[in-house]
């Protein structure tokens, strides 16, 4: 098979892999630290551990209403509560792709790879839109 640019791996593969690897480790570390603090009772939770079985079978709307759990980005203001602390690690894990794509965008722009830069930009906007909590569906 003739080797054209089509058959070459992009040079950013290694960089993407490294960022992914370290951010994932950091995310897991933060997640497990937060969860350990929650589980051991070092930080008081909003919903006491022994009351959890009364909440986890509720529908989402009922759960939010009865537990006073924050939605959207409000969890940041309640990060001191045990059941909110692990959210930081969860948010880091959910952000790993965003950071990787952000780096990719700069690399593609630097190399002048416009098509791939456009795809990455749209994906970044999509992740931002999802994370922003700006889209609301009412029922």
């Amino acid at each position: 098979m003739e080797r054209t640019s089509e058959f070459k791996n992009i040079p950013e593969q290694r960089l993407y892999a490294n960022i992914l690897f370290y951010l994932n480790l950091i995310g897991l570390f933060i997640l497990l630290t937060g969860f350990t603090l929650y589980l051991t009772g070092v930080i008081t939770p909003l919903v006491p551990l022994e009351d959890l079985p009364r909440f986890w079978s509720l529908s989402l709307d009922e759960y939010i209403e009865k537990s006073n759990m924050p939605t959207g980005w409000q969890w940041i203001s309640k990060i001191g509560y045990g059941d909110i602390a692990p959210m930081l690690g969860i948010a880091v894990l959910a952000s790993v792709t965003f950071v990787c794509y952000f780096v990719l965008l700069f690399q593609f722009l630097k190399r002048g790879v416009k098509t791939l830069a456009l795809i990455v930009s749209i994906e970044l906007l999509l992740i931002l839109l999802s994370a922003s909590n700006l889209i609301q569906v009412t029922h």
Partner: protein, 313 residues
Amino acid sequence: MKQSIKVKFILTIYSFFTPTLIFSATDEVFTMPWWGWPAALFFTTFFIGIFGVLAGIGGGVLFVPLASSFFPFHIDFVRGTGLFIALGSSLAAAPHLLGKNLASIKLALPTALVASAFAVVGAFFGLWLSALNPAYIQGSLGVTIIGIVFIMLFAKDSEHPSVAGGNYLTQMLHIGGIYQEETTGKEVSWTVHNTGKGLFCFVFVGLLAGIFGLGAGWANVPILNMIMGAPVKVAVATSGLALSVTDSTAAWIYLNKGAVLPMITVPSLVGIMLGARIGSKLLPKVKPAAVRYIVISVLFLAGVRSLMKAFGY
């Protein structure tokens, strides 16, 4: 010896799922200490991790029907966790696969873009449907899982599909790559075709991932391999990378809506990651085909149970 390993696995699966089935009488929730269900979830996901790897099936697709059918958690929390399980597993595996040039960023970028856009739509639709009546989601999950079982049973793969050149989209996006085949030491060049058709299929992959919180390896691999013509190793590896992108967008929707309960998500994530590590070590010692059929049977049962739950049984 092989027979004995097979028997041991069958016994382990049944001994593991039997208590889960017994505990499925969710009215008895309050008789258990609060830590009982998260502990049961940890062990369940640990085994899902092991058997998922042995059977070549992603953890998310096993987790959602099992946890929503046999545990007392509301299906919204299960779906939120399912997305994070799929996300966590794909994030953990991707660096190694990218390093070996098996996962391809060039192939993942367009496919993940289509899938993630529709995963957002699916996530909103799923949460809206669940707010109307959780039985709608539970029932459609059951139907979807039974459909997935048939796809898993009958989908074929091709190690190195022949690819017709001259595809406009493929050339525009420069989709292709080179990897080293470890068994022969030879470099393999690959590209894809039917890119438009393949991208269209990712619309449905994204919708299902968003609606049900399922990982979508079961769909990604046949699309990438059989429709687009990527070598099977590239398809499997790139599917994981694309999942890490697709699930990120849907995961944010569930997280923002409050559908991620750390007491459900963290034990599940840790359990499945530990299980997957053990599974990858056991892989050379067991017969994957036998385990695959057992796991597919369990998945089928979970699908049926999900349907029954939707109808109030």
